[in-house]
């Protein structure tokens, strides 16, 4: 990774120097060993602080929404899974491709203080969905994190409805509505979220009742359904350790099973499973029939 970082740094400095890009979106170190933060660098001098490596877990795609409004091109470092988020934003016309220079960054699985990131335990792909150039290594092309991505969902599906209810009430009751999951989510890009909009009829700022706890997460999962790339940032950032990815993965699993394999951000099709249909689709009753046999 050190070698990847050095090449990346050299390349970024060169691109800044020749005017191809006006700034570089990457990471810098924090106070300790693990607490890296996303950072913006505008010249070679600032680039001294640039780092890339095991603690560059944050998905920089969402920052691109703001960066895309700036003058000139931005160089952004994207890991394979991050490129899916970026590409999905292109699909949704939220980003203009020509405003970015993308370095696809080889990734050997990201970590934090507690070890490998949850999203990296079930790594989706080492392929870059979109890039201008790739800086990786043989090591980074090898598969990492081979856990079954849907195992957690399948476990919950096996439970009785009451068990699932108890599980989710236990988890969601911890929610403090800090909005970290929403604000970090590259699919949650609404100019104004329905939960912040008094006219939406569902505005709320605190999980006052269990209904509001549920509501926020149901609507959030539903709103990103078909657009969520399963980047796992929601669970990573939750200060209350709520396994939010299990909601998104459930919808992904369902859509894959009912409407065919689909990975948001992959390929060139802008339609998502929820903005397309076939005449032979399953009836909603399939949900009611499950487990009844």
């Amino acid at each position: 990774m050190q070698e990847i970082m050095n090449r990346m740094k050299a390349r970024a400095i060169a691109l800044l120097a020749d005017g191809t890009v006006s700034r570089v979106m990457g990471w810098e170190k924090g106070e300790g060993e693990y607490d890296w933060s996303p950072a913006l660098f505008e010249n070679a001098e600032e680039m001294e602080a640039f780092v890339y490596g095991d603690y560059a877990g944050a998905n920089l795609s969402k920052y691109c929404l703001k960066l895309g409004k700036l003058e000139g091109k931005t160089l952004v470092i994207l890991k394979p899974c991050d490129t899916l988020s970026f590409k999905q934003l292109i699909h949704e016309h939220r980003l203009e491709r020509e405003k970015f220079y993308i370095i696809g960054a080889g990734c050997t699985g990201m970590k934090d203080e507690k070890g490998a990131l949850l999203k990296c335990n079930a790594c989706k792909s080492k392929e870059f969905a979109i890039y201008d150039e790739i800086i990786d290594s043989e090591e980074s092309r090898k598969p990492t994190g081979v856990m079954d991505r849907m195992a957690g969902v399948a476990d919950l599906e096996q439970m009785t409805a009451q068990e699932r209810y108890d599980f989710w009430q236990g988890e969601l009751s911890r929610c403090i509505r800090c909005n970290a999951c929403r604000n970090v989510c590259p699919a949650c890009t609404c100019i104004k979220c329905v939960f912040d909009n008094p006219a939406s009829g569902v505005q709320s700022k605190a999980p006052v009742t269990s209904f509001e706890e549920n509501m926020f997460h149901i609507i959030r999962a539903y709103h990103v359904a078909g657009r969520c790339t399963d980047c796992g940032e929601c669970s990573r950032v939750c200060p209350q350790n709520i396994p939010l990815h299990l909601l998104n993965r459930k919808l992904i699993k369902d859509m894959n099973e009912l409407y065919g394999e689909y990975q948001a951000g992959e390929g060139d099709e802008e339609r998502t499973p929820l903005t397309s249909y076939t005449k032979e689709d399953a009836e909603p009753g399939i949900v009611h029939e499950r487990g009844r046999a």
């Binding site: 009430q169 009829g201 569902v202 539903y222 919808l251 369902d254 929820l274 005449k279 009753g285 499950r290």
Partner: protein, 147 residues
Amino acid sequence: MSVNNPNWKPKIVAFCCNWCSYAGADLAGSGRMNYPADVKIIRVPCSCRVNPLFILRAFERGADGVIICGCHPGDCHYTSGNYYARRRLTMLFSLLDYLGIERDRTRVEWVSAAEGAKFAKTMNEFVETIYSLGENRKLSDIRCKKS
């Protein structure tokens, strides 16, 4: 499934598309086909107009069951509305079920303008199901309960 209050009557919201199911409900009425008064119908232009927010809103406000009726797949007045509705509602129902909320509180039924009898039968069945499930406690907002 116990119903604590013997006087409890369920509240059931039926979203009906204007072109098929609402007309089907009218036909049930013209044919004097009985179904319980617990069912109240809201007219929408198409089943694809039914936002999951409306369904959640109904539960929030204490509805015990929500049923969405639309044209049969392929018969949509707007050609494709019910196809989108079918996917959206399947996903919503699945998510609610995943959260442990009784899946039988929600239902989708395709009822054409000619199927008055089917409309009445569907409503009778649905009301019966809701009676057996009892009051909706898992997905209502306690603040909305009339004290």
